[in-house]
Symmetry: C2
C-alpha cells in the first residue's frame, strides 16, 4: 500500500498520532507498543476485486498491508495509550508521564540570635 500519512502533535500532557485510514473499520487497524517504546500502527486495506460484473476503469486508491513505526519519547506513558477511529482517521493518544514536582526550596525561619 502507498504511504499511510501520519501527523504527530505534541500537547502539554500527551502526544497525538493522527493517521489517514480511509475505508478502514476499527477492526482492520492494529495499534501496538513494541519493546515498551515503539508505537506501531498497522493493518490492511482490501479493494473490492474486479469481477465479471465489475470492471475497473481507474485504480488510484492504494491497497494492501501497511505498517508505520514511531519511537516514543522517554516520557510517554505506554500503559495508558488510547486509540479511536472516525471518518477514516485514526487518532492515537499517548499520555505523558508528568514531570516530577520541583522541590520547593525550604524556607528556614531566621530567628533573632
Amino acid at each position: 500500500m502507498g504511504k499511510t500519512c501520519v501527523d504527530v502533535k505534541e500537547l502539554p500532557d500527551s502526544y497525538v498520532f493522527v493517521a489517514d485510514m480511509p475505508g478502514l473499520k476499527c477492526g482492520d487497524i492494529k495499534v501496538q507498543v513494541e519493546n515498551d517504546n515503539v508505537l506501531t500502527i498497522g493493518g490492511e486495506r482490501k479493494r473490492e476485486e474486479a469481477t465479471d460484473q465489475t470492471k475497473y476503469l481507474r485504480m488510484e486508491r492504494p491497497s494492501g498491508k501497511f505498517l508505520r513505526k514511531f519511537t516514543l519519547p522517554s516520557n510517554a506513558k505506554t500503559d495508558d495509550i488510547s486509540a479511536a477511529c472516525n471518518d477514516g482517521v485514526l487518532t492515537v493518544t499517548v499520555p505523558k508521564i508528568p514531570p516530577p514536582e520541583p522541590h520547593k526550596p525550604k524556607t528556614i525561619e531566621v530567628k533573632v540570635g
Copy 2:
C-alpha cells in the same frame, strides 16, 4: 492538497467513483456535474492549526483544497447521480442510460400461395 485518490468502476448498469476523503464530513465535499458531462469532486481539508498548546512534530497528511474532474461517458444518466460518504470514503454512483431495446425481427408468416 496532495492527490485525492479515486477508483472508477464500471458495473452493468452504472459507473461508480470511489474517492478517499479521510477526515472530511459530507458537508465538506462538493459533487457537481458541469456542462452535462463532467463530474467534479471538490472540497477542502482543514488541518488543526498549531497553537501555543499544540506543536506539530510531524506533518504528512495533506490539507487544503482539492478538485478532481472526470468526463462522463455518453451513456451516463447525469440527472440521477447519487453520492454517499462513509468511513472517509466518498462513493458517487452514476447510472447508465439503458441501451435501446433491440428491434426484434418480425416474422412474416409464409402462406401457401
